[in-house]
């Protein structure tokens, strides 16, 4: 099967959701406590909901698109996470981190080709 264009858009959509989910998860971890108050906190719930939505989108897209194209796009989530964490969490990026992410995306591309 070839990869329909809509599956690519769905995956990009999903990665943005997943990136926000990761940043919100980090935010929620500041208040980590082993009680119900934490596990029902807004940030954590938001993170889990966003993760859930992105998982469903991944599932749908990967059913109709090829791994060789979609896998690397899924790995682009780390780019969004770096950009978002810089804006929302004040984390700094450096050259090594960006190169590391580039290699991860490259590696995932090979995995997609090998599938």
């Amino acid at each position: 099967m070839n990869t329909p264009l809509w599956t690519i858009f769905v995956v990009i959509f999903a990665t943005v959701f997943a990136a926000f989910a990761a940043v919100f998860l980090k935010k929620s971890s500041d208040n980590l406590a082993f009680n119900l108050k934490f596990f029902f906190s807004k940030t954590l719930i938001l993170s889990l909901v966003l993760y859930g939505i992105s998982t469903i989108f991944y599932f749908i897209a990967l059913k109709f698109g090829e791994l060789s194209i979609l896998y690397p796009m899924v790995a682009s989530v780390y780019i969004w996470i770096c950009l978002l964490s810089r804006k929302m969490l004040g984390e700094n990026m450096n050259f090594l981190k960006w190169v590391g992410i580039a290699f991860i995306i490259l590696g995932v591309t090979f995995l997609g080709l090998g599938a």
């Binding site: 450096n94 995306i105 995932v108």
Partner: protein, 120 residues
């Protein structure tokens, strides 16, 4: 002077544990979905185990994020790509080809760079 919060080695170690848990959980869930043939069979032990592993992974991830940056710890999660390739080989008999091996090595290298870069 403001002390910048950097990522601890413990945080990185915890995330590696998380990748092992979620990869195993993913295999359990995949197996669990394979065994689902009617409404009642969806409640099988594989699916349940998989979700439990994900749940434990979530808690450990939260612990890790307390002592590390999201931009460092999240990419380390890509190690699960590597574990899943090996697990799929042993459990489902999915072949290992040169692309997968190369991909594994490159991902590992990338994760190492991020690990180093995140501690600078």
């Amino acid at each position: 002077m403001k002390i910048k919060s950097k990522t601890t080695i413990i945080a990185i170690f915890l995330v590696v544990i998380v990748t092992i848990l979620t990869s195993t959980g993913q295999i359990f869930i995949k197996q669990g979905l394979n065994l689902t043939y009617d409404f009642y069979s969806i409640l099988n032990i594989n699916l349940f185990s998989g979700m439990v592993l994900y749940g434990i992974g979530l808690v450990i991830m939260l612990l890790a994020l307390r002592q590390g940056e999201a931009s460092v710890l999240s990419p380390i999660l890509s190690l699960s790509y590597i574990w899943v390739v090996f697990l799929a080989f042993f459990v489902f008999g999915e072949i290992l080809n040169v692309y997968k091996i190369l991909g594994i090595l490159i991902i590992f290298f990338g994760v190492s760079l991020i690990g180093v870069g995140g501690r600078r």
